[in-house]
Structures are given as structure tokens and as C-alpha cells.
């Protein structure tokens, strides 16, 4: 077996080990490299920044254990950003696991709030909790919140929550912030909030799903998009609150470059072998 064949048939554990090192090293030993802000992230940030103080905004928390590392830091950053701008937040989730991680993000954000920023549960924010039924649940929520939920995540009756006074459908909200993670649920928000009610929306999704939502951005149905860990890192950078996403984004530099090197190597070896075989 020639060296070319041996390399082409490389044990995949070597590849896994190299990728592990490439991703772990910059997280364990933080490396800050220059970073450009993507247009979609800038658009999403500017949209959120432009929401008027005192407005009520609905936030879908769709992150799970699998996607919280990517989107969690960004969601925390946006919650801090919104509360600091005196924007009221109404959270909900479409899955039981997502429900818990949304509460985790809220807790983490409250810990990071600058002094003097008001963040009282029931006044400045409320977590409605789990809304079952996927898109049907979103439709029900958009049309009549109390038809779906009577109490919030903590068991407090909605009618006794100050922030929910007069808030019972989509018309009460100035904007939609959809942290869909890998749910694939952004189109549900577009169909149930944006199209029927005309409420502007921005979202977050995992990096591989960004191309899916390009048509919605181009059509003006989505005001920007926060894509994966880089999007979260950019949000942290833009509100000047460095966090875990920035470190992870640096790791993606090395992981991405390793991927590129391996693909180039694989193709070079392939062409060498083809030439040797006279093909």
C-alpha cells in the first residue's frame, strides 16, 4: 500500500483527534483573533436595538442542550440588551426541554445585568412556559394567549401578572425575537406572527440552517438572522459583553481551517492517485 493509499485510508480516529485538538485548544487556552461582523447579524442587532423603550416583545426560546452552547450566550446577550433598553420581554417555548433552557438563559442574563437595570419578573419580563402543539400552538398563542396558558412557567396566574395586563394576542407585541435553535420553527413565527399581524421579526438558528432562511430575509419577512455560535459571538461583541460564544467562535476558526486543509489534502491525494493509475 503506497503512502497515498495509506493517507487516503487514514483511520478516522486520527481525524477525530485532530478535530478535537483544533476545537478544544482555543477554548482551553483562549485565543482572540480579529473578527468581522456579518451582515445578517448586524441587521438583527440593529433591529433589536431599534425597538422602542417600553415596548413589549415576544421571545421564542427554542434552545436545547444540544444548541444552547451555540445560541445560549447570544440569547443571554440579547436579553441583557433588551432589558437594558427598557424593552419588556414575554418568553415562551415550544418544547419541554427548550422551556428549561429558556429559564436558564433568563437566569444567566439577570446575573449579568448592569446595576440599575430593572428586571422584575412579572413587570419587566415574564416566562409563559411550554406551549405544546408546535405550529398549531404558535397559532393559538398568537390569536389568544389565555386559550393556551393560564399560568406562567412559575405557576403564577396570567391575570395577576402586571406585564400581561391587556396582553392576550400578537397585536400587543412590537416585535418577535425567535431563538429557534435547530427546531426549524422560524417559518412558524413568520406564518403566525409576521404574515397575519405584520409584526417584524428576527431570529436565531444553527449555522447550517442559515441558508434555509435567506429567502425570508431577502423577502423582508425576517429582519436579519443570528447564525450559530458566530452570530452569538457577534451579538456579544456588539453589546460589548464578551462571553463564552466569543471563545467558541475562535475555536471554529481552527476547526474550519482544519476541515479545509483535510478536504484539500483529500483532493490532492485523489488526483495523485488518479494520475498514478493513468486516469
Amino acid at each position: 500500500m503506497s503512502i497515498v493509499d495509506k493517507l487516503l485510508d487514514m483511520d478516522q480516529r486520527i481525524i477525530y483527534a485532530l478535530m478535537f485538538i483544533a476545537l478544544a485548544f482555543p477554548i482551553l487556552f483562549p485565543v482572540m483573533l480579529p473578527m468581522d461582523i456579518q451582515d445578517y447579524s448586524r441587521q438583527a442587532f440593529d433591529f433589536a436595538d431599534g425597538i422602542q423603550a417600553g415596548s413589549i416583545v415576544i421571545v421564542e426560546g427554542g434552545l436545547t442542550a444540544a444548541t444552547y452552547p451555540q445560541g445560549g450566550p447570544g440569547l443571554v446577550a440579547q436579553i441583557v440588551h433588551m432589558l437594558s433598553n427598557d424593552v419588556k420581554l414575554v418568553f415562551f417555548s415550544l418544547g419541554t426541554e427548550q422551556n428549561v433552557w429558556t429559564a436558564t438563559a433568563i437566569e444567566a442574563a439577570l446575573d449579568k445585568l448592569p446595576a440599575g437595570v430593572s428586571a422584575e419578573n412579572g413587570v419587566d419580563w415574564v416566562h409563559l412556559g411550554y406551549v405544546p402543539g408546535q405550529e398549531s400552538g404558535v397559532a393559538a398563542l398568537a390569536n389568544n394567549i389565555r386559550s393556551v396558558l393560564n399560568v406562567d412557567y412559575f405557576g403564577t396566574p396570567l391575570n395577576s401578572i402586571t406585564l400581561m395586563d391587556g396582553v392576550n394576542d400578537a397585536t400587543a407585541f412590537a416585535a418577535v425575537l425567535w431563538w429557534g435553535g435547530s427546531e426549524g420553527s422560524i417559518p412558524w413565527g413568520v406564518r403566525q406572527f409576521v404574515t397575519p399581524f405584520g409584526i417584524p421579526m428576527t431570529g436565531m438558528c444553527t449555522t447550517n440552517e442559515v441558508p434555509n432562511y435567506t429567502p425570508y430575509i431577502n423577502a423582508g419577512q425576517l429582519q436579519g438572522l443570528i447564525g450559530g455560535v458566530r452570530g452569538s459571538a457577534e451579538y456579544e461583541y456588539l453589546i460589548k459583553m464578551p462571553g463564552p460564544a466569543l471563545g467558541q467562535a475562535m475555536a471554529t476558526n481552527f476547526g474550519g481551517l482544519l476541515w479545509a486543509v483535510l478536504v484539500i489534502l483529500g483532493n490532492i491525494l485523489y488526483f495523485v492517485k488518479r494520475t498514478q493509475e493513468g486516469g
Binding site: 487516503l8 487514514m10 478516522q12 481525524i15 477525530y16 478535530m19 476545537l23 483573533l33 480579529p34 473578527m35 468581522d36 451582515d39 436545547t64 442542550a65 444540544a66 444548541t67 444552547y68 452552547p69 419541554t96 426541554e97 428549561v100 406551549v131 405544546p132 402543539g133 408546535q134 398549531s136 400552538g137 397559532a139 393559538a140 390569536n143 389568544n144 386559550s147 393556551v148 397575519p196 449555522t207 442559515v210 441558508p211 434555509n212 435567506t214 429567502p215 431577502n218 447564525g227 458566530r230 459571538a233 467562535a249 475562535m250 471554529t252 476558526n253 476547526g255 474550519g256 481551517l257 482544519l258 476541515w259 479545509a260 483535510l262 478536504v263 489534502l265 483529500g266 483532493n267 485523489y270
Partner: protein, 210 residues
């Protein structure tokens, strides 16, 4: 068997009518009630899946099928976690199990994708012909655009990558979204017409078998 189909059709058509036409309060109120039913039934569906899985593993233990010991792990874990959760979802031990066992396992399984995709790319991603070559070049440009340092290493990747994402890729995805949406509409018509019954657990009848 006609009753579930009639219920499905009537409920669906009422929802569609409400979306397009101003409806009397009685209809709107009825639809609100129906949507709340969806929320309740969807929650119940979670229990169904859990029951099916539990029966499967209990049977496996009882009949001593292959690798039945792992089923004991499931049964014990499930019973312990369920009892704790039923007591209170804010129980410390319950939350500890979730935070320190369930979540890391879920995150770890999802993170496997990165390793597999790298291994797959090394072995399979070849410029075998011109179309594969174009795909390879485009993927490199978009990859460099997406990694934070890519724009610094090679600035032209940003406008080129953005163009690729917004135009050819966006157009392709737009086409797929249109096609898939039409497929779901077709499914809706078949379900309302009673010609598609898989959601009821019944295989559809072909024309001529009625």
C-alpha cells in the same frame, strides 16, 4: 371510520376560513377552543411515546432478550426520574439529573456531527467532475466567509460568499420551500378528503380498493 375524517375536515376548514374571512364570534370562539384542544392532545402524545418505550423495555427484561441488562438501566432511570419529577419539577435531585446527565448526553450526541462531517468530507468530498468541483470551490468560499478569521485572511470571500448565499443558494432554497409547501398543501387536501389516513394509524386505500 368516517367520524374522525369528518372531524379533521371540519376543524381544518374552519381554521382556514377564520384565517381569510371575518367570522362571527361563535366560530372564532369555537376555533379558540379547538386550538386549546391541540395543546392538550399534543401534551398527551408525549405520554404515549413514553408508555410505548417503557412497555418495550419492560418486555425485553421480562423475556430476557439480547442486551436486556441495558433495559434495566432504562427502567430504573425512568422510574427514579419520573417519581422525582412528579413530586416537583424543581426538585434538586431531578434538576441535578437533568443538568448533569441528560443535558450533557444530549449535547455530546449532537456534537458528534462535527467529527463525522469532517471525516465524511475528507473521504467523500472529491472534485470528481466539474459540478463537484464547482460545489467544492463554493463550499470553500462560504466556509471562509463563515469562520471569523476568513474575512480577514481573504477579504473577497465576504462579497462573493454573500452573493452565493443570497442568489444561487437562496434561489435554490426558495424553490425547495415552494415545492415542499405545495407538498404539504397536497397532503392537507388528501387528509381533508379522507384519502390519507396515516395520521390515524391506518394505511391509505388505493383507488379501486374502496
Amino acid at each position: 371510520m368516517q367520524i374522525p375524517i369528518i372531524i379533521t375536515s371540519v376543524a381544518g376548514i374552519l381554521m382556514i376560513l377564520e384565517y381569510f374571512f371575518p367570522m362571527p364570534d361563535a366560530v372564532t370562539g369555537f376555533n379558540v377552543t379547538l386550538r386549546s384542544f391541540v395543546a392538550i392532545i399534543s401534551a398527551a402524545a408525549l405520554i404515549l411515546g413514553t408508555v410505548v418505550l417503557s412497555i418495550f423495555h419492560v418486555r425485553k427484561v421480562g423475556e430476557r432478550k439480547s442486551e436486556w441488562m441495558y433495559s434495566i438501566v432504562y427502567v430504573v432511570s425512568f422510574v427514579a426520574t419520573a417519581l422525582l419529577g412528579l413530586g416537583s419539577v424543581r426538585n434538586e435531585i431531578f434538576l441535578w439529573i437533568y443538568s448533569n446527565m441528560t443535558s450533557p448526553i444530549g449535547a455530546a450526541l449532537y456534537s458528534l456531527t462535527a467529527f463525522y462531517i469532517t471525516s465524511a468530507a475528507y473521504r467523500v468530498f472529491r472534485a470528481r467532475n466539474w459540478s463537484a468541483g464547482v460545489l467544492l470551490v463554493c463550499s470553500f468560499i462560504v466556509l471562509l466567509m463563515l469562520i471569523p478569521i476568513g474575512a480577514i485572511l481573504l477579504p473577497p470571500v465576504v462579497p462573493i460568499g454573500s452573493w452565493l448565499r443570497n442568489y444561487p443558494s437562496g434561489a435554490g432554497f426558495r424553490g425547495m420551500i415552494i415545492g415542499t409547501s405545495l407538498g404539504v398543501m397536497g397532503l392537507g387536501v388528501r387528509v381533508f378528503a379522507g384519502r390519507q389516513k396515516e395520521h390515524l394509524g391506518i394505511r391509505e386505500e388505493k383507488v379501486g380498493e374502496q
